[in-house]
């Protein structure tokens, strides 16, 4: 990770409207890998920014999962993780605050962690907004300006 984004940049990217494609749930169906399941989906925001939804779920532990919104900077091959909803399978420590907890938690990209030489999303907060993988994905979609596809059947009325 070498792209440095300010808090304002991050907020703007989170706030950029992102239209989910039709039948996105099928496109996000997890596929088996070694020891875990995964799926990714690229989405272009209304301002042309390219984002990636990254989903991970352990095959052995249903509480070990991640639903991630990453940003793909134009001039880099690296992803920048804007938001990550994690399960409850490990402790997390916020190094700058010396704060450790064991709970479902959401990672947030922050400018101060980047400028401290740490990973962009190394700051996290415990959450009770979800308690399983699907809840975490829903939370991510709700909080990161995703728009559900319009059901064509509803347009008939």
């Amino acid at each position: 990770m070498s792209t440095l984004l300010t808090d304002a940049d991050i907020a703007k990217l989170i706030g950029e409207r992102k239209q989910l494609p039709a039948s996105y749930t099928a496109k996000l169906g997890l596929k088996d890998k070694r020891g875990h399941k995964e799926r990714e989906l690229d989405i272009t925001g209304e301002n042309g920014s390219v984002f990636r939804l990254i989903l991970r779920q352990s095959s052995s532990n249903i509480l070990d999962f991640s639903a991630i919104l990453a940003y793909l900077p134009e001039d880099s091959n690296q992803t920048f993780r804007l938001r990550r909803c994690n399960g409850k399978s490990h402790e997390h420590t916020n190094k700058l605050e010396h704060q450790t907890f064991y709970d479902f938690h959401i990672h947030y990209a922050t400018e101060r962690y980047q400028t401290s030489g740490l990973r962009e999303d190394a700051y996290a907060i415990p959450t009770d907004k979800y308690a399983d993988f699907h809840g975490a994905l829903r939370c991510l979609l709700d909080e990161c300006s995703f728009d559900e596809p319009v059901d064509p059947n509803l347009l008939l009325f």
Binding site: H36, S59, N77
Partner: protein
């Protein structure tokens, strides 16, 4: 501080941060102070099956690595070497993506230390996913030509319409010079482009097209020696890179446009 106090402090710190919490039948979560680079701690579970007690990451380590890396990359090159060495050095098994360390002879502590070291070493592969900023070389090349060669004297992506209507042997930029043979300028970011340029220049020779072949490398030092030697044989002027040769290339183009 007395040595005894220092030792006590070390022990207290390490012990305090090492906890084992029951999580079901013959299953315990092991909390340690060891972290991935994003502040997440290693995921370690102590479990028992028919074979006895073992430590497992339940697939978490590889899954965590896939935030940054493609899973396929674990099985290739340096990353594979690091992972294989870590597993064999610390006697950790990879059971279809789940890292496992068997506890032998009741040596729980030893197994835990080995397991932690293996996972930490494996997590180092993320540092190999170095940033590769997309090159702006081709764009810079074009901009530099545009800055020094008038539009009527240049033709980007030129090919000889008479001998090569399909454009099999193209030139990145043909610079027309009044009363003299044209400059055929190639932008050369990689071996493949250098080889293609060599073939094109040889073909122009065969067709009897008068020209001066010019090569501008993105970084000549990275070009295969044989590929470079072949191109040198058929070209007339080389610039080893664009970054430090901007002025020189600019002057060369300008001087070559002057009517003599």
């Amino acid at each position: 501080m007395e040595l005894d106090s220092i030792v006590k402090d070390f022990k207290a710190k390490v012990c305090e941060q090492l906890r084992v919490v029951p999580e079901g039948n013959e299953r315990f979560r092991v909390f340690t102070p060891f972290l991935f680079e994003d502040g997440d701690h290693l995921a370690i579970v102590l479990k028992k099956d028919a074979g006895g007690w073992f430590l497992s990451d339940e697939g978490h380590t590889y899954m965590h690595l896939t935030y940054d890396l493609d899973e396929k990359d674990f099985g290739k090159g340096t990353r594979q070497e690091i992972i294989t060495n870590a597993l064999s050095t610390f006697l950790v098994a990879d059971r279809s993506g789940e890292l496992v360390s068997i506890v032998s002879n009741g040596q729980f502590g030893d197994s835990l230390y080995s397991f932690i070291q293996a996972v930490l070493r494996i997590s180092d592969v993320t540092f190999l996913s170095r940033e590769r900023v997309k090159s702006t070389f081709m764009e810079d090349f074009r901009n530099l030509i545009e800055a020094h060669v008038p539009e009527e004297s240049r033709a980007f992506d030129w090919h000889d319409p008479k001998h090569d209507p399909e454009g099999l042997y193209s030139v990145d930029c043909k610079v027309v010079r009044r009363g003299r043979s044209p400059l055929l300028v190639y932008a050369l970011p990689a071996d493949e482009r250098v080889s293609a340029a060599t073939i094109s220049l040889l073909q122009f020779e065969r067709w009897g097209l008068e020209h001066l072949g010019v090569g501008v490398f993105e970084n000549q030092e990275e070009v295969n020696r044989k590929v470079l030697a072949r191109f040198s044989d058929v070209s007339d002027k080389l610039f080893s890179n664009l970054a430090t040769n901007r002025d020189r290339l600019g002057r060369y183009l300008t001087e070559n446009l002057v009517i003599q």
